[in-house]
Subunit: 273 residues, 2 copies
């Protein structure tokens, strides 16, 4: 248990805590149970890395974060080496790698600042939050042969009933997944939670009726517009381009008052199923 | 003139060349004339940084590239410090900063590989290239009071006539800019050219009829699917979300045979006009 992770802080906070060492690196751990068939979830790794980077920045919120994934993460100790590239008026920019022993797991760079204040009165939004049945009428996937992976037991994810066809082999044919997200046990959500939320859902490709079974992430970028301030988040993930061995997955996270609070894109590989 | 930049290689190649030094850093220069009101264009800086990173990777193509912008670039010498994080079977991942003296201009991380081969036969595309009049019926902006900025004299950019209303104060109201792109003097285009192309067009916001005059880039990510292989590229840039002082600008670059070859997103600030 580190100084940053009291039990009261909740499961997500505890699993993403790390501690500054005398040599300037941060020591943390990939926790058990945050994996998909043995490999730690990419959003979880990003939140673990991002919390150390945010703490090193001295700013309250992650504003923009880019991760490049190099090796799968397994449970165990990791070392994080945040380097503040610039500490400016609006943002501090931090870059860091996460290592498990000598093996590099991921590299990330991010801007950190304060998104609680409203900057600029100009607002124009093209698009609307996904229409979802209430959470209790959505599908909280229960453990089956391959689904959900262990990581999904660490947060409360409710899938739109129309987007769960892939579970019994009847995908609707569109690269689309929608649903609700929140942390468990009323754990409060901060902007670091959004790093997890944008990689928490089943891959869009599962619903696309293509012979693709898994899509390892090459790069994931998350842009945060505001802090979560409602109990549930409305999330929508889509893919438009599957070509030359790649696909992109675009995510939008809205709060339950109609504000778009985070936008994500990942580039993933498309191996055959 | 460096070893990498013969005059025959063309204007873009020459302006983005740099040379490996004995200490492992690369020496290059922000060239005159690649600026917008005095500050070097972000896509140009990324191509200058990216060429050194690609050369350090030993791979032919940039596959994915993320840049975080820290300070405006002015003409003059720069130092680039590429660091190969991992050299894997499919990709080499390289991170680097560009410095002008002691000032950091930008940080980038990218995957480099070979996109000439076709990986995977699975292809599904939702969307189509923008419909554009032939290049000679599009608008090649000619120097006026504020437009085009000097950087646009370094490539051949033809705007869709419907998207040039902002030039005479009659924007169509949509955050949309479409047009053709190619290098000058028949200079061949490689994947590094796509880093330039995705930041070469006027900001979408110019057409949105909002009181916003400039939108500094915080972060720019480019995903490359294939090499350019047609004379012209069809480009489309859109923005959906202007909120809390930020906007995203999404770019799609298609070749003239209907292939989507690069996808980009940047997060930009929205100061008042």
């Amino acid at each position: 248990m580190t100084a940053n992770a009291s039990p009261a802080a909740g499961r997500f906070h505890a699993a993403t805590a790390s501690r500054r060492q005398d040599d300037g690196t941060w020591a943390g751990a990939v926790h058990e149970g945050w994996d998909i068939v043995g490999n730690a979830n990419g959003g979880y790794l990003l939140a673990l890395l991002g919390r150390a980077m945010r703490d090193a920045s001295g700013r309250p919120d992650v504003v923009a974060m880019t991760a490049h994934y190099l090796s799968p993460g397994k449970p165990g100790e990791v070392r994080i080496s945040p380097r503040v590239l610039k500490s400016g008026r609006s943002f501090a920019t931090v870059t860091a790698e996460m290592y498990a022993g000598e093996r590099i797991l991921l590299h990330a760079t991010g801007e950190f600042g304060d998104v609680s204040a409203v900057h600029g009165q100009i607002e124009r939004v093209l698009g609307a939050p996904p229409e979802l049945p209430p959470p209790d009428q959505c599908i909280r996937a229960v453990p089956a042969k391959d689904f959900p992976p262990p990581v999904m037991r660490n947060f409360d994810l409710r899938l739109h009933p129309d987007d769960t066809g892939f579970l019994d082999g009847r995908p609707h044919g569109k690269a689309l997944v929608r649903g609700w997200f929140r942390l468990l046990d009323d754990e409060p959500m901060d902007t670091l939670t959004l790093l997890l939320a944008t990689d928490a859902f089943p891959p869009t490709i599962f619903n696309a009726a293509l012979p693709v079974s898994w899509t390892p992430t090459v790069e994931l970028t998350v842009h945060v517009r505001a802090r979560p301030r409602t109990e549930w988040l409305r999330c929508e993930f889509t893919s438009r381009f599957v070509s030359n061995g790649f696909l992109e997955e675009d995510g939008l996270v809205w709060d339950d008052e109609g504000r778009m609070i985070a936008q994500s894109r990942q580039l993933a590989l498309v191996p055959r199923g």
